[in-house]
């Protein structure tokens, strides 16, 4: 019991540290002054802290300093105290500058409040259920024990990061390299398990997976915050958080923790949302957050580099609203042409063998997205949103986010149509996990686009191009 408390303390510390970092880098902006950013700050705080603790662990390893609770936790404690002082000093000025807040729970009708409380209880039931699965189930899914936690086990036991290599290199190294099924996979997720184990004081391959549950909880909070800032009422934002946290495949990745796909999805969604926020507000804080989360994407899974690159079209559209679409179109054409040329030589890119043989497995894709139980009604909703919100999603306020979502979907289409990854579509293996990377973002995009479209119709009877900030003030 004591060691479980140490584990909880370890991750609470990471969360508090990350939240203070996010709070400290936030500068005064329109949205922040409206007092709606607490959920966004706290939600993002976990992800910022969870990434930075792994950066610190990498630094310790590089310096040859073995892992210990004190060596990892103490700098976070000191930094947290300093950040808390900094944030507190700035707080009065922020309070004074606050503009009238967007509607809060008190403004809801009795029925609305009741529905909100029911949803919160429903969310609590889900998260308690998932927590029980996480803390009871020893590491279960295949890749988790063949290529992810393998590294964690070695690094925790040796107290430092040691290199892993493929078979030939492993034989040549004569004991200086370790081996597993994917020695080149990034270190962030295994380092979370190492930190859990260090905090716990022992190797426990159930309890070490606590961060997967925290990812789900923190993502739900961050999504609530993002939706509130996009103009949704507390009830609307809670519904959004419920929808996002109800995606069955995401739940499975918590209950059977150990894969990097859910963290990938969370960091990607937050990077895209922070970039979108930057496109609307142009604050340094949003830019820093977007960069931080995009950097984290590249350290979670190998395709994280490509996911981070899919943020670029949105950034280009934000910087150059007029010429941006043309530049993005040219960039995409060049990228696709490069892929086509590369495909002639049958190269392997990020582990995927490219070849110009367009043969997507449509039926399996339809099964995965629309018929099986992976996503509830998500992809029906995405299509509906794209149809009804066609004008909204192309408006200057939404174009950057829409471009990111479109680029992400294009990446999946290319991967599953032109590479050997298509083989994993037909047997329903990697397809769903790859789609999971973009699922939370696609859901948030659907909600904000439909909300803005509907709001525009109700308010003005116009053709529905609404700025999220305008929607917020009207709500």
């Amino acid at each position: 019991m004591t060691d479980a408390l140490r584990l909880a303390d370890g991750w609470v510390l990471v969360w508090v540290f990350g939240t203070l970092v996010v709070a400290a880098i936030q500068r005064r902006s329109t949205r922040q002054r409206s007092g709606e950013s607490w959920a966004w700050t706290i939600g993002c705080g976990f992800f910022a802290g969870a990434f930075m603790v792994t950066v610190w662990m990498r630094a310790l390893s590089l310096a040859g300093i073995p892992f210990s609770f004190a060596r990892i936790a103490l700098p976070m404690v000191i930094a947290s105290i300093a950040l808390a002082v900094l944030v507190r000093r700035r707080a009065p000025a922020d309070d004074a500058a606050r503009t009238p807040a967007a509607p809060d729970v008190a403004t809801l009708s009795r029925g609305g409040r009741a529905l909100l409380y029911v949803l919160v209880a429903w969310l609590a039931l889900r998260f308690v259920t998932l927590l029980l699965d996480v803390v009871w189930t020893p590491l279960y899914p295949w890749d988790a024990w063949i290529q992810w936690a393998t590294k964690a086990r070695v690094w925790y036991s040796l107290g430092q990061i040691v290199p892993f290599g493929r078979t030939d290199a492993w034989f040549a190294a004569n004991g200086a390299l370790w081996f597993d099924a994917s020695p080149n996979y990034p270190a962030t997720v295994p380092l979370w398990q190492v930190w859990s184990s260090v905090a716990l004081g022992r190797w426990d391959d159930a309890l070490m997976n606590l961060p997967w549950w925290l990812v789900a909880v923190a993502l739900a909070i961050a999504i609530y915050g993002a939706l509130r800032e996009s103009g949704l009422s507390p009830l609307g934002a809670t519904i959004g958080a419920w929808l996002a946290s109800s995606l069955p495949l995401a739940n499975v990745h918590v209950a059977l923790a150990g894969y990097a796909d859910l963290p990938m999805a969370a960091y990607y969604a937050l990077a895209a949302l922070a970039a979108w926020r930057w496109s609307r507000e142009r604050t340094v804080a949003s830019a820093l957050l977007a960069l931080l989360f995009a950097a984290a994407c590249t350290t979670i899974k190998t395709p994280g580099v490509v996911w981070a690159l899919t943020l670029l079209p949105g950034v280009v559209l934000a910087l150059m609203p007029r010429r941006g679409p043309r530049i993005v179109a040219i960039g995409l054409a060049v990228a696709l042409l490069t892929l086509a040329v590369l495909a002639q030589t049958d190269p392997v890119v990020l582990g995927y063998r490219l070849h110009l043989d367009f043969a997507p497995a449509w039926l399996s894709l339809v099964d995965s997205l629309f018929l099986l139980g992976n996503w509830h009604l998500l992809w029906y909703a995405v299509i509906a949103a794209a149809i009804v919100g066609w004008r909204v999603l192309r408006s200057p306020a939404f174009a950057p986010l829409s471009a990111t979502v479109a680029s992400g979907l294009l990446f999946l289409v290319v991967a599953f149509s032109f590479t050997n990854a298509r083989n994993w579509v037909t047997d329903q293996t990697t397809i769903n996990r790859a789609v999971l990377h973009i699922a939370p973002l696609a859901l948030i995009w659907t909600i904000v686009v439909v909300h803005a479209w509907l709001h525009g119709r109700i308010r003005t009877g116009s053709r529905g191009s609404v700025d999220p900030a305008a929607a917020a003030s009207a709500a």
């Binding site: 063949i146 081996f179 099924a181 992976n374 509830h376 509907l454």
Partner: protein, 384 residues
Amino acid sequence: MPRTIAIVSIAAVLACLAVYLALAVPGRWMPSAHERSFGAAQLTMPRGVAAMTGNELIVTRAAEDGNTVISVTTDLRAVDYPVIAWIAAGFPADAHVALLWQTDVEPARVNKRALEVEAGQLLPADLHRDPHWLGRIVGLALVVQGPVEAPLRVRGVIAKPAGALDTLRDRAREWLAPEPWTGASINTVAGGSDVQRLPLPLLLACAIALIALIAWLLLRARGRDWIPGVASAAIAVALVAWFVLDARWTVSLVREAHATASRYAGKSADEKHLAGEDRDLFAFIEKARAQLPREPARVFVVADADFFRGRAAYHLYPHNVWFDPYRNAVPPANRLHAGDWLVVYQRRGVQYDAGRRSLRWEGDVTVPVELKLLDHGGALFVVR
């Protein structure tokens, strides 16, 4: 307005179900006959080898002619039972499986219908248009052509009147079927049983589209700005539909948490592994670890099954383990050094010669070793 939406929603769902039933029910909607089940105990096995385990017939081998036949004597009116469903699992996707039957009208004739395999299970056969499905059905059989690579589990056969209520009950059973955690769960959530002839998300999406259409027609007829009304109705119904799906899923999650609790709750980390699927392997590796040095040593793992190679390696870390994750391979003998360790677990083709204190495997490779542990299908050696 909410009342209208609720009424329209119910009507739309019923309309979608009616359309489905019109397409799916092969015979009469309200038949007088009741479902007839024949359990595994009533089955006979003219060809092949099988054993009863619980309420399942586990088929392990085909007959010498390469066929497996499971049969049952019946007395059914063909017209009352247009659908035959074998409750069986474990079939590879390319398996050649067929339903055989005999009737009292053509007693000398054995009729045959190929059966489709989906997710390892046999899809029901709809025979109501088959010209030889007539009179009384006096015998049914399941034939599998080709060797049996992995055990087939047969629980019985059901003759179905396949009326509207039966069809709806079957669909509901598919939607609400438990979905226990398996190795495939991390990749796919079926949303009920592995085989579903009417996926619930599709039904709900069709109903939402129909509701939007009805709302549009109603509001347009009243001459109002129809978009906010239609959108609000569609969104409200979509959220309810999402909640229906989520409720089904949450029940499944709670059920799985309960199963996890009964297996692992209150146990230490080691006790959990001893309650897990690889408990025998874990127990063996624990003994092997006691033999290994404290400092990380080079350990090679060989086993026939991918699962055992990977799991053995996982339990052996932080030792410096090598295994082939994808192929049933042995390490190159010329790269083994004195002091290296070798774990052999349920691996055919690796032989230990106690007299010569050596291991021999494919390619007539011989490695001098010392046996350190022999236990329940596993052995630990150190290279001399």
